[in-house]
């Protein structure tokens, strides 16, 4: 590791953080040089955020930090500095941007005033009026449209990306020497993320600010940083230039992490690489590469659907297109589907404004097809999913699923449909009843089944998703996110459905866990010969899992076709924008090393 140099903006030595009962950071040391851009990467719970808030001196009361944290070669150790001194440093010498732009701003205060406040607190502007004027300048620098008006807006009137720009304007207001960003783009859409990352990179480069960027996403680090620190279970396990770490990772954990992040890397059986690591991490121990999986000779060949989609796009102003049209009887047939919402409010005398959730959507899904729907927040993909599962009704248009018109069916006519079409939701914590045992959760969809048979089927289903039978009497909070998602999948598959609909089913998971869950899902889809509809914002996941993809934007399918075709030769400008905003790891490595 680097030694203390006078040019270090941040110098952390043997930082240990813990409660009286458990140590969470096990003595980490690193430096960040002036103007250097360093990424801190690792999975949830690895101690990334804890490192940042220790530096800021904002640890919760229950945690204690030891070691030394020095800023800018100053003699004061931030960990033992008086609160008054820290208040002087926070917001002026070091500043921080947090993950959730939705909650990190005061909802009751105009954003201009919130930006001005940081200058008032540190008296870097003479008066309130000057601070407000500078705030408008700063909002212009972070490229908010109409900065003068934006300054007078309340946070709820801005989008997520705009709020994160406000946070950046605030953090950069006093020209800090060190900027800490904790997952600044994780809550944003990919196309918005690209813009915000570029902005962060430009802002710190222009001002020579040192940057510590925390993320779980290797691509984000590659985009912005020069050096990367890899954290695992409270230790820094690898430290090196981004290009080197991406192309030649040293530590086995880093190798695993990169392999698991790479959804284009699969073994002979089409399975993703998963992270299997010893519980205790030992920093910098070179180890042999993870042993490749044994290829089983009798493994069933992956099922290929007979139907191959045509690659089509929606022309601007052109007629509605029927995408992926299937001759004969498709599993799902959607025609001219529209869904409008009446937004709450409106004037006393004017009607409430109408929001178009979906507009003239037509497509088919063939038996055994793996159909991906990709789009950003607000694109209409969740609305589409809800309607496909008969949880919502369209304003107009028709949907046939397995030969039944579900848009006009009454709930009691849908009993068969409900067992044939199952759903896996995004949030495995929120979608499992916390007071039910796993056995009851998984067995719930079963009807007219004896207790013994239900037990046997639940046990078999849990085994199929890779969980032991002894988890049956536990409750959801006793499981990790990945395990909970396996439980959700077990519950969805226990009725032996023909169609599985997944809504962002792996979006809340860490990359290594994501790979495991995707493998389980892919195996089961093959084994049960399911027709899969997978809704996600993540292009990589869709590319890995689906043979056909529909790109949805602003309530319309703008492009649809075989996944590889769409990704490699996008026809619609929106698809091109989306694809270029999420480069593959190979491409990133090329860019970084170039």
């Amino acid at each position: 590791m680097t030694s203390i140099t006078p040019t270090s903006t941040l110098s952390v030595r043997d930082l240990r953080v813990g409660s009286p009962f458990v140590e969470l950071l096990h003595g980490i040391s690193f430096d960040i040089a002036a103007g250097e851009r360093v990424g801190l990467i690792g999975e949830s719970g690895s101690g990334k955020s804890l490192t940042a808030i220790s530096v800021m001196g904002l640890l919760p009361e229950t945690l204690r930090a030891t070691g030394t944290v020095r800023l800018n070669g100053l003699d004061t150790d931030l960990l033992t500095a008086a609160e008054r001194r820290l208040n002087q440093l926070r917001g002026s010498t070091m500043a921080m941007v947090f993950q959730e732009p939705m909650t990190a701003l005061n909802p009751l205060m105009r954003v201009g005033a919130q930006v001005a406040e940081i200058m008032m607190v540190h008296r870097t502007e003479k008066g309130r009026r000057q601070a407000r004027e500078r705030a408008v300048d700063l909002l212009a620098q972070v490229k908010l449209p109409n900065p003068t008006e934006a300054a007078l807006a309340f946070p709820h009137q801005l989008s997520g990306g705009q709020r994160q720009r406000v946070m950046l304007a605030m953090a950069m207001a006093n020209d800090p020497q060190l900027l800490l960003c904790d997952e600044p783009t994780t809550a944003l859409d990919v196309t918005v993320q690209a813009g915000v990352l570029k902005l962060i990179g430009n802002l710190v480069a222009d001002r020579g600010t040192a940057l510590m960027l925390i993320t779980h996403d290797i691509a984000v680090v590659a985009e912005v940083c020069q050096r990367v620190l890899v954290m695992y279970q409270g230790n820094i396990v690898e430290d090196g230039p981004v290009g080197r770490v991406l192309t030649a990772p040293q530590h086995p954990y880093t190798k695993n992490l990169i392999a698991a992040s790479d959804l284009s890397w699969v073994d002979d059986r089409g399975r993703l690489h998963t992270v299997s690591m010893p519980v205790v991490a030992t920093p910098f121990v070179p180890a042999a590469a993870a042993a490749p999986r044994r290829v089983e000779a009798d493994a069933p060949p992956p099922m290929l659907p007979a139907h191959r989609a045509a690659h089509q796009r929606l022309e601007p102003g052109g007629p509605p297109v029927i995408f992926n049209e299937v001759a004969g009887a498709p599993v799902i047939r959607v025609r001219d589907l529209s869904r409008q919402y009446r937004r709450r409010g409106g004037g006393l005398f004017s009607p409430a404004p109408i929001v178009h959730g979906l507009r003239d959507v037509s497509f088919d899904v063939a038996e055994g097809q793996r159909f991906g729907v990709v789009g950003e927040s607000g694109s209409g993909k969740s609305t589409l999913m809800r309607i496909l599962c008969a949880l919502d009704q369209p304003s107009s248009g028709t949907i046939d699923v397995l030969g039944q018109r579900i848009d006009i069916a009454a709930e009691r006519q849908l009993r068969d449909f409900r067992s044939q079409v199952q759903i896996v939701f995004q949030d495995p914590m929120g979608s499992l009843d916390p007071r039910m045992t796993v056995r009851d959760i998984v067995a719930e969809p079963l009807r007219h089944v004896s207790r013994a048979e239900a037990r046997a089927r639940v046990e078999a289903q849990l085994a199929a998703v890779g969980l032991d039978a002894d988890v049956m009497d536990r409750h959801p909070h006793q499981f990790s996110g990945g395990q909970r998602q396996r439980i959700s999948i077990a519950r969805a598959l226990i009725t032996r459905p023909r169609v599985l609909v997944a809504d962002e089913a792996v979006s809340a998971l860490d990359v290594s866990v994501r790979a495991q869950v995707l493998n389980v899902l892919a195996d089961l889809v093959d084994e049960y010969q399911l027709t899969l509809v997978f809704v996600s914002h993540d292009l990589g996941v869709i590319r890995h899992l689906c043979d056909t993809v529909a790109v949805i934007s602003d309530g319309r399918i703008v492009e649809c076709g075989p996944t590889d075709n769409v990704y490699d030769h996008p026809l619609h400008p929106y698809t091109r924008q989306l694809v270029s905003a999420t480069p593959s790891l190979d491409e990133l490595a090329r860019r970084v090393t170039a």
């Binding site: 208040n87 917001g91 909802p107 406040e117 607190v121 309340f154 709820h156 709450r344 409010g345 006393l348």
Partner: protein, 315 residues
């Protein structure tokens, strides 16, 4: 903003009309002859019939309602069946007293609850915070009339600092008015104060964990300043909700406290009129009490709109 206020006024007016209909139905259409109730059991049939005509009871209910509510809107509550005098002036006098009592106790309750709640929240891990929080819990459990009697025993009977009851008009003798106001207002406000301080505490605790407080700390604001500048307004929103809900309880409390302290407010007037079986007066007083609650709730709603910009935009 103006639109939101207009809409709130519309809701308020509608609620008042509905409340008047309910009040009218409850007291006029329920079984029993209002004329007989007014005259007592010994009245002859002829007297009752005459009384019924005098009270207009022979007309259809809809006509009677419109007649009654139309007059109420211009301040005419009809004539007492007992004193044969207009009810309106009596209600107006009593309402003035109750408004003063209730508003004073709300102000006292807030003056106690806000600092006390913030203190117990900020010091929730320290022994003093826990003890103070326990005290407020006891306060919640004490009924208002008991607090009133204890206050009278200590400050009026034993110490003889303040009068035990009665009322002095502020126009006649302002010092005397304050002396007579202070004990009942404390008795009425103390329970509310204890309840509200619990909500202030939990609301402030909640807000101290919010991300934007962490943002404020990261900007260089000290913990106290961050809470003061960013936390309190946010914490006020749920407290206001509770305050709005508590207002009805407060009025019920006022009816009891006015009895304990012999204050000639709406509560005392209502109980007197009920005892005298003066139905038109009871009907008028009940409506005024309901409208009073609605007005206070309306003001709370407006305050919400002022505090929270998210409620301001109409769309």
């Amino acid at each position: 903003m103006a639109l939101v206020v207009l809409r709130r006024i519309g809701v308020f007016a509608t609620t008042v009309v509905v409340a008047s209909i309910v009040t009218f139905l409850m007291l006029s259409i329920l079984p029993g002859n209002a004329a007989r109730i007014a005259l007592g059991v010994q009245a002859t049939e002829a007297d009752v019939a005459e009384q019924a005509t005098a009270m207009g009871l022979d007309r259809p209910a809809v006509v009677r309602y419109l007649d009654w509510f139309g007059h109420v809107l211009v301040g005419d509550f009809g004539t007492s069946t007992v004193s044969r005098q207009a009810i309106g002036p009596d209600i107006a006098d009593a309402l003035g007293i109750t408004v003063i009592l209730v508003l004073t106790s709300v102000v006292l309750a807030l003056l106690f609850a806000i600092p006390f709640g913030i203190l117990t929240a900020v010091r929730h891990r320290k022994p003093d915070g826990v003890i103070l929080s326990g005290i407020s819990q006891i306060g919640v459990a004490v009924p208002g009339f008991l607090a009133g009697m204890l206050l009278v025993t200590v400050f009026a009977v034993t110490l003889r600092w303040l009068p035990a009851g009665g009322w002095v008009d502020p126009g006649d003798d302002f010092g005397g008015f304050l002396e007579h106001l202070i004990l009942p207002a404390i008795a009425l406000g103390s329970v509310q104060g204890a309840v509200l301080s619990r909500y202030v505490r939990s609301s402030v605790l909640e807000v101290m964990r919010e991300d934007f407080i962490r943002t404020a700390r990261a900007k260089g604001l000290g913990a106290g300043r961050a809470l003061f500048r960013h936390g309190l307004r946010n914490a006020a929103v749920p407290v206001m909700t509770v305050l709005g809900l508590q207002i009805a309880t407060l009025l019920v409390g006022a009816v009891v406290i006015e009895r304990v302290f012999s204050i000639p407010g709406l509560g005392s007037l209502l109980l007197d009129k009920v005892a005298l079986r003066d139905l038109p007066a009871v009907q008028g007083i009940v409506l005024v009490l309901v409208v009073f609650v609605l007005v206070l709730n309306f003001l709370v709603d407006l305050a919400f709109t002022l505090i929270d910009p998210r409620l301001r935009s109409a769309s």
